[in-house]
Structures are given as C-alpha cells and as structure tokens.
C-alpha cells in the first residue's frame, strides 16, 4: 500500500463556483444522467427485467383489450342484419307497386337498405330451406306475398310501427326479442370492457408510480449524498426521469412484443372465424402509426410517473 502523502503545495483555491452552468456543463450533466441511468438498469439485469415485465404486462393488457373491443365492433356490425324488419305485403300487390313502395322506403332517413323478395323467390327459398318440398308440391298456386326486407338505421321501433300501420302491408315481422337480447349483450360487454380497461389503465399507472417510488427509496442514500454535496434539485431528479423514460420505452417495446405473441397464438382460430364469415370480416392488429403512438405514450408515461414520484419523494434531507 502506498502511504506516501503528496507533498506538492496545492494550487490556490479556486473562486467560489458560481452558477455559471455553461452549455457544455449542461450537456455533460445530461450525458452523465443518461448514461448513469442506463448503466444502472444494466447493472441489475434481473431486477430490471422483472420490473420491465410487470410494466410490459400492465401496458399490454389495456392495449389488448382495446384491440379486442375494436375487432368486436367490426363483428357486431356484421351481425346487425339480424335486426332487419320483414314487411309482408298484401297478397296480390303487383310488381310495380311493390317496387314503388320499396323506393319510398329507401328514401327514408331511418332506413339503411331495402331488399325486395318476390313471391317466386319466396317460394324457391321456402322449398329449399324448410324441408317442406314435398308438402308444397301439392299447392296449385303460389300463395306467398311479396316481402320487403328493411334494414333500419338507428332505432327500428318507430319504423316497424309505421310499416305495420301502412295499408299496403299485410303483416310485419320484427324479432323485437332477439334485437333486445343482442342489445343487452352488447351494452353489457361494452360496460364490462370499459370497467376492465379503466382498471387496467389504473393498474399500469400504479405499477409505474410504485416502481419509481421504490427505486427512489432504494437510492435514498445516493440522493442524500448528492444533496449534501450541493447538487441542484434538477440534477438529483434527472437520473430518475431518465430511468423512468427508459422503463417506459422498454415496457412499450415489450408490450408490443406481447401483443404480437398473442396475435400469433390467436391466428388459427381467427382464420377459422373469418372463413366462417366468408371473409366479410377481417381481424386487424396495430398499425405502424399506432405502434409508434404506443411507444411515445409509454415513454411519456414512464417519464411522468418518475416525475411525480421524484417530486413527491425527493424532499427529504433538505432543511426548510
């Protein structure tokens, strides 16, 4: 061990360091914080991985839920047809009258589409579908009326009532019960989805805040020493903001990866589903722009969480 004490006389004391933080000093400090915070994360790879996993999950879950809802809405659109109103016209209404009636309906604001089913089409369909082929052979003439299949836009109730009152219409079939069930299910699903998404977003915020808080608690000695040595509040806070930023960014990347994995797992049943729908409905994932938005948002969230936690917890050790 070297026990020699340097005997050169020290140089004259420098003047009191004034607040002359030059641009260069500012850059030095930011680089220092950037590297030290990254180095810190790398120095504890296990702890960092664990924290990132928690954050990644917390971010991926609301995203997945949002995707699910978005896709479900597309699916529900295809099922909407079930709410169509069938108007049976008086038997014997002639073809031009039927077409005129259909045109009148199409012009209404609360009608999305009208399909005309002539008595002949009706009979063909009836033969094919109902298994009464033999029974219907005994019919000597076509007893079926023309039918208008009306797709309502918005609330179908008043439309159905008006059709029922129309003199040209014999009978209106509108499965109110089925409609009601579908509505109830959709409302329930939506409400449930909102509640769950809210809970998940809250959980993500809690996790980030808690992580940064514990990070600060674990480095309280470092914070105290920096403050003792005359570090400004901003300087002390900076490494935490940077690590919050890194946490957020990496967690965002991780959540995107998780979403990708889930998409791969769901790919096969999804393909079967879209095939069942004659590819009328296509499931979609996140686009590039959405991915970038997720990354930016998670980085911002990390920074914000760190800022809140740091502002709240880095006050100790300072006299009033």
């Amino acid at each position: 061990m070297n026990r020699r004490i340097e005997k050169n006389r020290p140089k004259p004391a420098a003047p009191e360091p004034r607040g002359n933080f030059s641009l260069r000093a500012w850059r030095e400090q930011h680089l220092y914080s950037l590297f030290s915070s990254l180095g810190r994360l790398a120095a504890r790879p296990w702890a960092t991985a664990l924290t990132l996993a928690v954050l990644g999950f917390a971010l991926a879950l609301p995203l997945l839920f949002w995707l699910l809802l978005d896709n479900a809405r597309g699916l529900a659109g295809n099922v909407g047809e079930a709410g169509a109103i069938s108007a049976f016209l008086k038997p014997g209404t002639d073809v031009t009258a039927v077409q005129a009636f259909a045109a009148r309906l199409r012009a209404r604001a609360d009608v999305a589409a009208v399909t005309v089913k002539t008595p002949e089409q009706g009979l063909d369909e009836f033969r094919e579908r109902s298994g009464f082929a033999d029974a219907l052979k005994v019919l000597h003439y076509n007893p079926l009326p023309a039918v208008l299949i009306v797709d309502p836009r918005g609330d179908p109730g008043p439309l159905a009532a008006q059709l029922r009152a129309d003199p040209a219409v014999d009978q209106v079939q509108y499965d109110a019960q089925w409609r009601q069930r579908l509505n109830a299910i959709l409302v329930l699903a939506l409400r449930g989805a909102q509640v769950l998404a809210g809970l998940l977003a809250l959980a993500a915020l809690l996790v980030i805040g808690n992580t940064v808080r514990q990070d600060i608690a674990g480095r309280s000695e470092e914070i105290a020493v920096m403050q003792l040595l005359g570090a400004e509040a901003g300087f002390v806070r900076r490494p935490f903001l940077y690590s919050g930023f890194w946490y957020g960014t990496f967690a965002g990347v991780l959540s995107l990866m998780l979403i990708g994995i889930v998409q791969v797992i769901l790919a096969a049943p999804l393909a079967r589903l879209t095939a069942a729908y004659d590819h009328a409905f296509a499931a979609h994932g996140l686009g590039i722009a959405q991915m970038l938005a997720v990354l930016a948002a998670s980085a911002a969230l990390g920074w914000l969480g760190a800022f809140l936690a740091a502002s709240r917890h880095i006050v100790l050790g300072q006299p009033r």
Partner: protein, 226 residues
C-alpha cells in the same frame, strides 16, 4: 469568512445542541473544534455547510448571511463548502474514482479535466492506485481518506472536516492534518473538529473548545508542532 453570532440550535426533540455561540474566522484562517462526545461539534459544522439551520442567531459564510439563503440557494452554498463527514457518506455502489468525482460532476466540470483533478486529489491522500476499488473493499481509514479527497477535489474556498483522522494511525493522522494546513496556506478557510488533543496542540492553530453546546475556550497553543 465564517462568523457565528449568538447562534443557538435546538433539535426538534427539544434538545439544545448549541447555545449562545459566537466566534469569527478570517478568510484563510484555520481552526480546530474540540469537546466531549455530544458537545455539539458536528452540529456546528453542519450549520456552516447549511445541512441544518440555526434556531437562533446568525451564521455568515463567505460573506453571505445563511439565514437569508432561500431553499433554492442551498445547493449553491453547499458547493462552496468542502466537507469531510464523520461517517464518510461514500456511495457504496460506485468506485472510489466516481465517488471523488461527484462534486466535479455536480459542478459540470468537463470529463478530461475531471479525471486529472480526481487523480490529483487521490494522490494527495495516498490512494491513487485504489481508484477502481469499491469503497467496501477499503479499510475504514482508507474510506475516510476517500472522503477527504472528495472534499478537496473541487478546491472549495471553505473546507470543514468532522473528525477526519478518527480512523487513522497517528502518523497518517499527522500527515492528513498537514494536508489541511497546506490548504490553509493557499487561502482556504479550514475548520476541523477533532478529539485528538495532542495532535491539535502540535498543529499550533487556533482551538475552539465546546462543552454542552457552549464555547468555553478559544485559544492558540504556543508550541507549533514537533
């Protein structure tokens, strides 16, 4: 440079650590503070570095009335005072070099100049070849010397040291005290708390004696070292 005017410090639990303390140290003067365990030496030094605020009276450091310093100004005052802590306060997860460099990092000194100054400071306390060690791999005396290097590396105009030689053998203690003396000779104001009365007397500097928070003696020993 350092002036106490009827200063009193009562801790939140009601304990009076200092009372009616008045003295003045000129710029470039060096003095020792002694007194029994719990006399208030550390409290006195903490007031100079603005680690605590007095409950009475007025402390002036570098011509600045510390009572008038607002919260945002505290950091700047502390950067002007180099302090050796009684319990080292080293960061255990950083190398010796990084610990000593901390005040320079905080002051925003450029990287190349930083390395030069850190090595010069470590050389002064005889620990140049331990720069890469972790503090936990050093003996207590070595840790104490790292703390001294950290206090002097930024060449502050005021240097205060709380028991800087408590863990050093007599020979090394004398050398370290000599180092403080050299700083004084180039214009730094130096205030050192120490129990080591023989060593203090040999230094021949002004001595302030505390007893239960009161200044009971303030003298200059005649014999100036061996």
């Amino acid at each position: 440079m350092i002036a106490f005017d009827r200063v009193g410090k009562r801790y939140p639990n009601g304990f009076d650590a200092l009372s009616e303390l008045s003295f003045a140290l000129d710029a470039g003067e060096m003095a020792f503070v002694t007194g029994h365990s719990g006399a208030g030496k550390s409290t006195l030094l903490r007031l100079v570095a603005l680690l605590e605020r007095p409950t009475r009276g007025q402390v002036t450091v570098n011509g600045r009335n510390l009572g008038a310093v607002r919260r945002r100004g505290i950091a700047r005052v502390r950067r002007g005072v180099g302090m050796v802590f009684q319990d080292h306060r080293l960061l255990l997860d950083r190398s010796v070099f990084d610990n000593v460099a901390l005040p320079l990092v905080i002051a925003g000194v450029p990287r190349e100049e930083m390395a030069k100054r850190v090595r010069a400071a470590l050389d002064k306390v005889g620990l140049l070849e331990r720069e890469k060690s972790a503090p936990s791999m050093l003996s207590a005396g070595e840790q104490q010397r790292v703390g001294i290097a950290r206090a002097i590396v930024a060449k502050p105009p005021v240097l205060i040291a709380d028991e800087p030689t408590g863990n050093l053998d007599p020979q090394l203690a004398a050398e370290i005290m000599g180092l403080f003396g050299e700083f004084q000779q180039v214009g730094t104001t130096v205030l050192v708390a120490s129990h080591d009365l023989p060593l203090v007397k040999r230094m021949g500097k002004r001595v302030l004696v505390l007893d239960h928070g009161r200044l009971i003696d303030d003298f200059q020993p005649r014999n100036t070292g061996p």
